[in-house]
């Protein structure tokens, strides 16, 4: 009789110990890592990691927050090599950053200036590097001439560039062309002012 009471007590104690154990045992989580990476232009941004009851701001190059599998958190700093080892394949898959180019035209024509013809080669090779570009070509004019004639000229400039790109093998449906006439002067002028910097196309690629 006495023995069975002892046994029962022992069993209860063991059960209590077990429960205390499960309450304090660290829950296993997948390890996590968050890091700020400097951009191609050297710009360093910031991220904020919110976890249960804690918020940490990381705003330095390769600054990182690591959550271990036992749930502990530490702020740390990675090296460029560590980032490359862990995230090399991932970073390599980042698409090219959306960017834009400006090319300039001869007065009253849809023909590029000599300098812009050279520049065009660089722009087009950059466009061709992108696997599936979304290209927007917007033509502009200076303020010489009527609204109608400038609308026509600006569109002709954009269309001319579009045709050249199609000639390079970029699918036609990926390139949109539009003319803004003299509505969006890069260099603000009075009406009827000949201004080379306003005679341009803007090519945006995503």
């Amino acid at each position: 009789m006495k023995l069975s009471i002892y046994l029962a007590l022992a069993a209860l104690a063991a059960l209590a110990a077990l429960c205390a154990g499960c309450a304090t045992a660290p829950k296993h989580v997948a390890p996590e890592l968050f890091a700020v990476v400097p951009g191609a232009d050297g710009h360093v941004g910031a991220i904020v990691v919110h976890t249960e009851g804690d918020t940490r701001v990381i705003d330095s190059a390769y600054g990182a927050e690591r959550i271990s599998s036992d749930g502990t958190r530490e702020m740390t700093r990675l090296t460029a090599d560590e980032v490359r080892d862990t995230f090399g394949a991932t970073l390599a898959a980042l698409p090219g950053k959306p960017t834009s180019f400006v090319l300039y035209f001869l007065e009253g024509k849809d023909e590029l200036t000599a300098e812009s013809k050279v520049e065009m080669e660089k722009v087009f090779s950059e466009l061709k590097r992108r696997p599936l570009p979304d290209i927007m070509v917007i033509g502009h004019t200076d303020s010489v001439g009527s609204m109608t004639s400038n609308d026509r000229l600006s569109l002709a400039r954009a269309e001319r560039m579009r045709e050249l790109m199609i000639g390079l093998g970029i699918p036609a449906e990926r390139i949109q062309a539009a003319g803004r006439g003299k509505r969006e002067l890069l260099v603000p002028t009075e009406d009827s002012v000949s201004e080379p910097r306003n005679r341009r196309v803007e090519i945006s690629v995503r």
Binding site: H50, V83, T90, A92, A93, P131
Partner: protein, 145 residues
């Protein structure tokens, strides 16, 4: 009666709302898009929609451009869900909530974050990360290489 009209209107409006919010620009190895019960191969040029899940195999990686110009890439053995996404091209206000359940992700934030910091968030099993800009990486799970 009125309920039926609303339901009918919604069912008509809904397909129009499932517009592409992004485009697969890079796809290497095994990459899939899970949309509801549907699974499809994510080829270069595939559209990405809100609530899609991107799943990559051991040899897979994918790069996506979003309408606010944010860029996201997913590495091998990864599962990345786009829980919420909307972006107003006029005001640049928006919300981007991703969920990295497993694997690796790299991203460069876009116009939305420039307009309002932390409008882009990435959840993981243990944390929520807000993006103030611009480039960052996240890993969930053990190192596999």
């Amino acid at each position: 009666m009125r309920k039926w009209i609303i339901a009918a209107a919604l069912s008509v409006a809904f397909p129009a709302m499932a517009a592409d919010i992004g485009l697969i620009k890079v796809s290497k190895g095994s990459v899939q898009i899970q949309r509801g019960a549907e699974k499809m191969v994510a080829a270069v040029g595939s559209g990405v929609q809100a609530s899609d899940v991107i799943v990559t195999g051991a040899d897979g990686s994918a790069g996506i451009t979003f309408t606010d110009n944010s860029l996201v890439s997913v590495g091998p053995n990864s599962v990345f869900a786009i829980d919420k996404y909307h972006f107003d091209t006029t005001t640049h206000q928006g919300e981007f909530e991703g969920n990295l359940k497993q694997g690796r992700l790299a991203a460069i934030s876009g116009k939305m974050v420039k307009q309002s910091p932390e409008s882009m968030k990435v959840r993981t099993p243990s944390a929520i990360m807000g993006v103030r800009g611009t480039e960052f990486v996240i890993q969930v799970g053990e190192k596999t290489n």
